[in-house]
């Protein structure tokens, strides 16, 4: 589609049962796509933050933001792609660790400032945090050794505070 780009949309919502399905149902019902989704409480009691990423062209993003705002339980919506923001994603990567690769994997872990959080005779589980580019680069290096499993959080994001 013309002008389609990835957008990271973050919103504060009432922490009530059913809110997530309202948000997700809106996306499926209107044919918007969700690439990733992340939900957790905030420090304000009763308020959660949902961060999701989607691919859309500019008019569609406008429509997505408006539709989200229209949900009664959605307090505030922001498209962080358009703002000065910090965007991070975490992944746990289980990689095959054959004897001849073990040192190489640890070197990569070091360069990327990741952590090994589980070690076995034939695998490492690596924890990595970073932006999309970093995760992609790391995965590219690990793939040849054999990535057995991966779990990603999808991006979370916050707008930067004024300096």
């Amino acid at each position: 589609m013309q002008g389609e780009a990835k957008h990271i949309i973050t919103m504060l919502v009432d922490n009530e049962p059913g809110v997530l399905s309202r948000v997700v149902g809106l996306f499926s019902g209107r044919g918007f796509n969700i690439e990733s989704l992340c939900v957790a409480e905030t420090v304000t009691p009763g308020v959660s933050r949902i961060t999701l990423s989607t691919k859309a062209n500019p008019p569609l993003v406008e429509q997505i933001e408006k539709q989200l705002n229209k949900l009664i339980n959605v307090i505030k919506v922001r498209d962080l792609t358009r703002e000065e923001s910090v965007i991070r994603e975490m992944a746990l990567i289980c990689v095959k660790a054959a004897p001849e690769h073990r040192a190489e994997i640890l070197r990569i872990v070091d360069i990327f400032r990741c952590q090994v959080v589980d070690v076995g005779l034939e695998h490492y589980i690596i924890e990595v945090t970073g932006d999309e580019g970093k995760l992609k680069a790391l995965l590219n290096l690990l793939k040849p050794m054999g990535v057995k499993k991966i779990a990603r959080t999808g991006p979370v994001a916050l707008m930067r505070e004024p300096k």
């Binding site: 919502v13 009432d14 049962p17 059913g18 399905s21 309202r22 149902g25 019902g29 008019p59 406008e62 429509q63 408006k66 539709q67 705002n69 229209k70 009664i72 339980n73 959605v74 307090i75 505030k76």
Partner: protein, 563 residues
């Protein structure tokens, strides 16, 4: 402190909200609620099917401007409301639907008559609630009414488990509703309005396109003043009928798929389109890329999602239609209206020429009744003052074309969802809201059978609704599409066996009348309209009459088929 049961609390809040009528149908999960309901002065209208309850509440809301309320049981009672809820949702009608639910400890257990109605109706309600504690009940019901009627109105469902209705809790009157995450914008941005006045001043061929939002915000008076002062011609969507007097010289008739020739030509030719309380449905726009292609579009609506959803807009205004038109009218006080209006003669001449070239027309011969003739005579005999509900299909379009509506709430039709079976229960609701008015359901022979059981409701509750069946023995609108676009292959649209509607009416305890010849039309209408109770009038009409003009789906509005 006062303690009350959940059921008593519900009744207290309903009365505080000014509810005078509930349309409903009882069942196990709501016995407690009914037990309290009959102790209040609230009138209960016992429908024969829960779909009818919601359509009746919807008709009540459209006719009165106040939220309609229904009460049904859990499980099948709740699922039967879904079509009604979706109908109200598409047309932005304030309805509060109260459903019973199995006791909280059984929820999720596949209990008897358990269904996740909150999950089912999430996409077709403005909002919905499952009340898990009687402590929340008063607040939730207040919120439900607030949400249903404010902003862009819509249906709200409140699901009340049986143990919540029975629980005894302390009751304090809830405070004013204030939802941090729901604050509709009523006041328009003045800078935008000044730009609109500028465009109105400059435009040579301006046009107003009004819709259901004008009806809902009770802005018809302001719209009429605005149009007359600026000498702008007016067209409306189906939902906007009644928002502008159908007898005014500035009136162009409805636009869109079955709009008038001059309304659709005007859309194509105008250089300024002021769209108020509309959502640019595909039945209105035809091919959206060429809709109003020569115009700058101003779009006023209370719902930001309506704006720029389907068409590009030069000046968007988020606000209440009435508040916005009031402001615009005030701004016009400073304008030299005489000078502005003087530049519009050529435009009005052009419209008059279109009107004389193609007008809505039919020819009533000697032998066979034309459906348009029935609506024409209905208009005459009711002196244009009836409340008209419709079913869906050709009957709906002929009612829209040949009855000339003069005030909002007078035309009640399922525009967005197009729900066959809407008209009779909606007429019942409208008759409850307006006991002194003549309420007529213009029906098709197919649609009327979808909620015919509500005739019993009308008889039992002494609601003298009149049903005018335009009986063509076909699912006529579908047949029309088959005729025009499917080489006359009438697949499964002939209703070869019909009940005898006269006997059917009599079986229900209503009056049944029939006309099969043109000269019988007026006498039957006279007799039916004068009868004190509910009446079915069965007009056996030309079987293969079609609705014209017609813009084929997806075509440019100027590409009308004319007879």
């Amino acid at each position: 402190m006062q303690t009350m049961t959940g059921a008593q609390i519900l009744m207290a809040v309903l009365q505080e909200e000014g509810v005078d009528t509930i349309f409903g149908f009882p069942g196990g999960a709501v016995i407690d609620l009914y037990d309290e309901l009959v102790k209040t002065p609230i009138r209960h209208v016992l429908v024969r099917h829960e779909q009818g309850a919601v359509h009746a509440a919807d008709g009540y809301a459209r006719a009165s401007g106040r939220p309609g309320v229904c009460l049904v049981t859990s499980g099948p009672g709740a699922t039967n409301t879904v079509t009604g809820i979706a109908t109200a949702f598409m047309d932005s009608i304030p309805v509060v639907v109260i459903t019973g639910q199995v006791p909280t400890h059984l929820i999720g257990n596949d209990a008897f008559q358990e269904v996740d109605i909150v999950g089912i109706t999430r996409p077709c309600t403005k909002h919905n609630y499952l009340v898990k504690s009687a402590d929340d009940l008063a607040r939730v019901v207040r919120e439900a009414f607030h949400i249903a009627r404010s902003g862009r109105p819509g249906p709200v469902l409140v699901d009340i488990p049986k143990d919540v209705a029975q629980a005894q809790v302390a009751y304090t009157r809830p405070a004013e509703v204030n939802l941090r995450s729901y604050q509709p914008t009523y006041k328009p941005n003045k800078r935008q309005l000044r730009k609109i006045v500028g465009l109105v001043r400059e435009a040579q061929r301006p046009l107003i396109f009004a819709g259901g939002g004008v009806v809902l915000s009770k802005a018809a008076g302001e719209l009429t003043a605005f149009a007359r002062r600026t000498r702008m011609p007016v067209t409306t969507s189906l939902m906007g009928l009644g928002a502008f007097p159908g007898t005014d010289p500035l009136w162009l008739g409805m636009l869109g798929m079955h709009g008038t020739f001059r309304a659709n030509m005007s859309i194509d030719a105008c250089d300024l389109l002021v769209a108020i309380g509309v959502r640019f449905d595909d039945r209105v726009t035809g091919k959206v890329e060429s809709f109003a292609q020569r115009a700058q579009i101003v779009h006023i609506d209370i719902d930001p999602t309506s704006i720029r959803k389907n068409v590009p807009v030069a000046i968007p205004v988020v606000g209440d239609c009435r508040a916005t038109l009031e402001q615009l009218n005030r701004m016009l006080d400073d304008e030299d209206l005489g000078a502005i209006n003087g530049t519009r003669d050529a435009w009005h001449d052009q419209i008059a020429e279109w009107k004389s070239r193609v007008a809505l027309a039919y020819s009533q011969g000697q032998d066979i009744i034309k459906p348009q003739y029935v609506v024409d005579k209905l208009y005459e005999l009711t002196e244009g003052r009836a409340i008209v509900t419709t079913e869906v299909g050709q009957n709906q379009m002929w009612a829209a074309q040949y009855y000339h509506f003069s005030h909002p709430g007078q035309f009640i039709s399922s525009g967005g969802l197009g729900t066959m079976g809407f008209g009779l229960p909606a007429a019942i609701g409208a008759q409850v809201a307006c006991p002194d008015r003549i309420v007529v359901d213009v029906a098709g022979d197919g649609s009327i059978q979808m909620n015919i059981q509500e005739l019993a409701t009308a008889v039992q509750c002494c609601l003298p609704v009149k049903v005018v069946i335009l009986n063509n023995g076909y699912l006529g609108m579908v047949r029309q599409w088959q005729e025009l676009f499917y080489d006359k292959r009438y697949a499964c649209t002939a209703m070869d066996h019909q009940p005898d509607f006269v006997k059917l009416a009599e079986a229900y305890g209503a009056v049944g009348l029939r006309a099969t010849r043109p000269e019988e039309v007026v006498p039957v209408l006279r007799e039916g309209l004068a009868a004190p109770g509910p009446v079915i009038m069965d007009f056996v009409v030309a079987r293969e009459e079609s609705v014209y003009p017609m813009v084929p789906a997806g075509a440019n509005l100027t590409e009308m088929l004319l007879v």
